[in-house]
């Protein structure tokens, strides 16, 4: 492939499904109002579990226009990705002319885990039988086994025939899938990528696995204030769900058709801490390296960053790790830059959240406002940056850094910039 790194990649359409609101408009209203969408877990009886708070999306696939067969065929995560794709396409006004120049990149951390568990319960007769009974399985079970089916569903919904893939790097999937799509456009493998991420992990096995390592909050008596990034009283993240999908286009392709442009994806990098599958080194070295490489990729100095959309999961170790990484990579500028975590409002939707945070970052540029960190009343003394507590802030925002950190040791950084 020829080197075509002068090709620039822009966001021309956004679709979002998040807790607290369906659609990009409702999503942005929730964020700028500083409202929280966390609540007592309602999808199943959570009584036996340690953490019983969740950020659930009020998503009904039938009401969103999926056909009965699409609903049966797709896991909830795939349904959300397809509905978001429709919104993003409509938003961008893009219509496929040459399917071979349109690709797909969908991030997910845990794939069809909800449908897999529902099917497991049936074929194992409630866990009674190790030898699961295939005669009770849905014919769509293979699509749940291999999450590549998510990329297929999005490709079918768009009519894309370019490169298609699922990117699954745990909780950085939603940044990495968009980073991957950006790379494919830059190298010339596609002119348009339908990219983003989705996860619907609110199922007993997921709740149980985070219970086992106390990664999720136990603030069950106060669910609407349970996600408390950077606050001294934080005690873990709130499991969430959702999706964000984008139409990404090569800049000239977008300009030729007079498309609206939210922002350019100007830099991206991922690094690995090679330290621990779930633990983080307190010094933030690898995330800082990802930020530095992303800045170099964008040919921007650190002090160009106007706003940091943080990973801010609300676990003790993450928020300190990340704070250290911002200082390490941006120096004193870290203290002058607003940093916020939208997970305080919509929880942590694992692989999806990186794309949802890219959506928030693009909207911050478009609307000239940065969302707040809800529930932040008393800062952790080790978290001493400006985390935009409680209320959104209007400010000219031209360059946004959005970061993610996940199990496996993955650290990713994406830079978005206003297109002049």
């Amino acid at each position: 492939m020829t080197s075509t790194s002068d090709r620039r990649v822009v966001i021309t359409g956004i679709g979002v499904i998040a807790p607290g609101g369906l659609g990009t408009k409702a999503f942005w209203e929730l964020l700028t109002a500083g409202r929280t969408a966390t609540r007592s877990l309602s999808f199943f009886d959570a009584t036996p579990f340690r953490s019983r708070v969740a950020a659930e999306a009020d998503f009904d696939p039938v009401a969103e226009g999926l056909s009965p067969q699409e609903v049966r065929r797709m896991d909830r995560a795939a349904q959300m990705a397809v509905v978001c794709t429709r919104e993003a396409l409509a938003d961008s006004g893009f219509e496929v002319a040459d399917p071979t120049r349109v690709g797909v990149s969908v991030g997910t951390a845990v794939g069809a885990t909800m449908s897999l568990e529902e099917e497991y319960v049936v074929v194992s007769d409630g866990g009674r039988n190790w030898l699961t009974d295939h005669r009770y399985a849905t014919p769509h079970l293979y699509d749940y086994l291999v999450p590549s089916s998510f990329a297929r569903e999005v490709a079918w919904s768009v009519g894309a025939e370019g490169p298609a893939t699922v990117v699954s790097t745990g909780c950085t999937s939603g940044l990495d899938s968009v980073g991957h799509a950006r790379e494919l456009i830059r190298e010339g493998s596609a002119d348009v990528m339908i990219a983003g991420a989705t996860d619907a992990p609110i199922s007993p096995i997921t709740v149980a696995c985070f219970d086992a390592i106390k990664a999720t909050t136990a603030r069950n008596d106060d669910p609407t204030h349970a996600s408390r990034p950077f606050d001294n009283s934080r005690d873990g993240f709130v499991l969430g769900e959702g999706s964000a999908m984008f139409v990404l286009e090569e800049l000239e392709h977008a300009r030729r058709r007079g498309a609206q442009i939210y922002a350019e994806l100007v830099g991206f990098a991922s690094r690995s801490n090679a330290f621990h599958m779930t633990g983080l080194r307190p010094d933030g070295r690898e995330m800082a390296e990802a930020i530095r490489v992303a800045l170099a990729d964008a040919r921007l100095p650190g002090d160009a960053v106007d706003y940091i959309n943080a990973h801010g999961s609300g676990t003790k170790q993450n928020d300190r790790h990340e704070t250290a990484a911002f200082k390490r990579s941006l120096g004193d500028h870290a203290y002058r830059t607003p940093v916020s975590s939208i997970k305080s409002m919509i929880g942590h939707s694992l692989g999806a959240i990186g794309s949802i945070e890219i959506a928030a970052s693009a909207l911050a540029i478009k609307h000239g406002a940065v969302p707040p960190t809800a529930n932040l009343h008393e800062r952790d003394p080790e978290c001493d940056l400006d985390y935009v507590p409680l209320t959104a802030r209007e400010q000219q925002t031209d360059v946004v850094l959005s970061v993610g950190s996940g199990f496996g040791g993955f650290q990713s950084a994406m830079l978005l910039a206003r297109v002049a």
Partner: protein
Amino acid sequence: MTTVVTGVGVAAPNGLGRDAFWAATVAGVGGIGPISRFDSSGYPAQLAGEVPGYEAADHIPSRLMAQTDHMTRLSLTAAQWALADASVDPSALPEFGMGVVTASASGGFEFGHRELEKLWSKGSEHVSAYQSFAWFYAVNTGQISIRHGMRGPTGVLVTEQAGGLDAVAQARRQVRKGVQLVMTGGVDASLCPWGWTAQLANGLLSTGRDPATAFLPFDANASGYVPGEGGAILVLEDEHAAARRGAAVYGVIAGYGATFDPRPGSGRPPGLRRAAEMAVSDAGLTPADIDVVFADGAGVAQLDRVEAEAITAVFGPRGVPVTAPKTMTGRLYSGGAALDLVSALLSIRHGVIPPTTNIRQPAEGLHLDLVRDVARETPVRAALVLARGYGGFNAAMVVTDERNGR
């Protein structure tokens, strides 16, 4: 920038380790047999390709045993062998200059099965503290990076059976951007009752009982595929970096293409031919330069026909030797194409094309020069590997010997 392969590690149903695998593959010795890991008597399909003679405790530190699925152990072992094969000491390389990009199809499914059983039969407090990552699709990349101190770019791609090539292509992108060394490939396994139930749902598994006739790509009696476990991990480096340290080179990752099939009912042509043409062109070659095609070999009549027509469209009728040595291993999901890539590199090194075993009656109307029964000795300078992932994913990769590389 030229990206070369300097090390390979193999865990295959017909051989644990590169040499055992290649000896069996060239000799036409298969590794498909009755499933031994669970009682398959109640299932319509009962054959699989299981990796033989693998004692995890011989290869995996005890502290990792409780937190790893079988497929992660196989991948860690293959990664270690690949590094040894490349004569690389990761601790001597810059930590941010080494990356890991693997493919996955179904994650650590057997691990997940055990934890689901604990949850539903005993209660949530019995679920392992390792469940949060031991089953997920990113686990092999994470564990390999941790074990070898690789802090550079990471990635995990899921395109079912096409993933083995897509991951290597992504690894090549990283090398081209200046990353010194990238571990890549794919290893999969989901040979547990729950994984088997899920695989049966695609309706493509062979219900044959005889390992010699159950999986017959391009044969008139093709009746589905036999799943297997395992795969391969490769070490990719920039050609100059490899030369500086005097590394032995298997070959060059010279070309790649990926497409997705049109949605059903569109009337548009399938995308495999386009992927193959893109890969050949990306390598700076023409079809006449390709000495062998390693086929995807679905073992399903309709899919075999689509693939044969794509090969014929690019190379002409019987225009190039074609082989599908996966008749000896079964289909290994994300490990399948990574293993085929290793076979292609070994074909280049040894000047021999491994056979497609067990084919007795080639399907009518497929105009392929299929290398059947016995290996064919012939110089191989460039090989095309094809792979397809369930649902419409197509990938193609060209590997060449060093002289042919750009």
